[in-house]
Each structure stands twice: as structure tokens, then as C-alpha cells.
């Protein structure tokens, strides 16, 4: 049973150095929190994947100083939404991922996957970093 209660106590923060080896544990933590909040296995997969894409981007594109940058993930419930926020310390890149020219590759599907799997996506680029906010409604 989904917890649609405004008083859901989930408001969990996880901070870690921007290292590729932490991607798997970070997305699995988000998946566990979503499971605890009562989502079905299928929706948990969607949340895990969308969050995984955002975390991968934060490490790959949002950490100008590499491992000395940190990533912060916050998960909480608000009204009818389960929300994951991924914050990094980078500037949003003003370039589209389009391969090296003659070879248009498949890059650039991360954001489209987030949109396809979540109900609301906010990408907010500020001077102190990018934050990606993903929400999934309880249905």
C-alpha cells in the first residue's frame, strides 16, 4: 500500500564523492527507499533507472573537479509524489551529445528516459550546480 500520507518520514539524504564506482550503490539505495514507500517492482525499476541516469550525468557531466566534487541525493514524499533530487556541483553543458559528426550515436537518451519513466522532471542549472528533480505519483 503506497504511503500517501503527508507525514511519510522518508526524507533521506545521501552525499558521496563523485566517483563512478558509487553509481550502482547510489541508485540501489534510491530503489530501496522507493520499495519502502510501497511502490510496485515495476515502478521501483523505473525510479531506479531514472535516478541512475541522473546520477550518472552528475558524475559524468556535473563534476568539473572529478572526485573532489560531491553529489547529493535526497528522497522524500510530498502529497502524492515520491521525489528524488540529484544535485551536483557543475555547470550544465551547452553542447548536445551528437557523436563525432559522421557517426551520430545513441548518446543523449538519458534525459528522454527520465521523461518517459517519471511524471515530472525538473532540470535546474544554477551557478552552484545542476539539480535534477524527478517525481513519481502514487496511483
Amino acid at each position: 500500500m503506497p504511503v500517501t500520507d503527508k507525514k511519510c518520514s522518508v526524507n533521506n539524504e545521501y552525499a558521496f564523492a563523485s566517483e563512478t564506482k558509487f553509481l550502482q550503490q547510489a541508485r540501489n539505495l534510491v530503489a530501496e527507499i522507493a520499495t519502502d514507500c510501497g511502490f510496485s517492482e515495476q515502478i521501483v525499476f523505473d525510479i531506479k533507472l531514472a535516478a541512475g541516469e541522473a546520477i550518472a550525468n552528475a558524475i559524468e557531466h556535473g563534476s568539473p573537479n572529478g572526485k573532489s566534487n560531491s553529489i547529493k541525493i535526497t528522497c522524500y514524499c510530498e502529497n502524492d509524489d515520491f521525489i528524488v533530487i540529484v544535485r551536483d556541483e557543475g555547470r550544465f553543458k551547452k553542447k548536445l551529445p551528437v557523436g563525432t559528426g559522421d557517426n551520430v550515436n545513441f548518446r543523449g537518451r538519458g534525459v528522454l528516459i527520465m521523461l518517459a519513466l517519471m511524471d515530472k522532471v525538473i532540470i535546474d542549472e544554477t551557478k552552484s550546480g545542476t539539480s535534477v528533480h524527478l517525481s513519481k505519483r502514487y496511483r
Binding site: 551547452k94 553542447k95 551528437v98 559528426g101 559522421d102 551520430v104
Partner: protein
């Protein structure tokens, strides 16, 4: 958007106005006709065009694929915003794509290239 096709040393596709998502198919079919006629070198004159969106970009990239390594696309524009966008989306990184600020230069370039082919 208005399209006018004329024939110089290569076909010249002159576009006036704004190329967008819903007008792009019209541009695509004009280009497809030229490619069907055997043309692989094309000049896009964008001097009188001041807007292109992802739909127009899709046609440009589609054209670059269709003419592949055997053809060239010379693109004329001196509109800073259009040029910046072509760079953003990666069109300018295709080796068969070249940007010119005037039609004369784009034609001169084709003359040079076609001379070498003889």
C-alpha cells in the same frame, strides 16, 4: 518558409523565412527530388532564412546521411544564431558539411572540388 530551387554548377536550394518542424517535410521532399535525380552535391542558401528548429536540423542531418561520403553540402548563412545552433547540434562537425558566409564563396568551393574530380 519559401523554397526555391535553381541550377548553377550544383543545385541551389534557397530558403526564405523560418524552417520548422511542420514545414520541414516540404524541404525534405524538395531535397529528395534532387537526390533522386542523381545529385550528391547541394548548396543550401540560408541567407534569407533566420530560423531553424530541430525539425529543420533533422532534415539537414538526414541529407548529410543521404549524400554520405560521395557528396557535399555547402551551407550559406551569416546569421550568428543559426550558425551557433548548427554548431550546438553537431551539424558543423560532419566532414561533408561546410559553412560559407556568401553564396559566391560556396559556389567557388564547389568549382574547386568539381575541378579535382575531372
Amino acid at each position: 518558409m519559401k523554397i526555391e530551387v535553381t541550377k548553377e554548377i550544383v543545385p541551389v536550394i534557397e530558403i526564405t523565412g523560418e524552417v520548422d518542424y511542420f514545414r520541414a517535410p516540404e524541404l525534405e521532399s524538395a531535397i529528395d527530388d534532387l537526390i533522386l535525380d542523381g545529385n550528391r552535391n547541394l548548396l543550401f542558401d540560408f541567407s534569407k532564412a533566420d530560423y531553424i528548429d530541430s525539425g529543420g536540423i533533422e532534415v539537414l542531418i538526414g541529407t548529410l546521411r543521404k549524400i554520405s561520403k560521395v557528396g557535399r553540402l555547402n551551407f550559406v548563412s551569416s546569421n550568428d544564431d543559426v550558425v551557433r545552433l548548427l554548431d550546438l547540434v553537431g551539424v558543423s562537425r560532419y566532414s561533408t558539411f561546410s559553412l560559407f558566409s556568401s553564396k559566391d564563396e560556396a559556389i567557388e568551393d564547389f568549382k574547386e572540388v568539381l575541378k579535382k574530380c575531372q
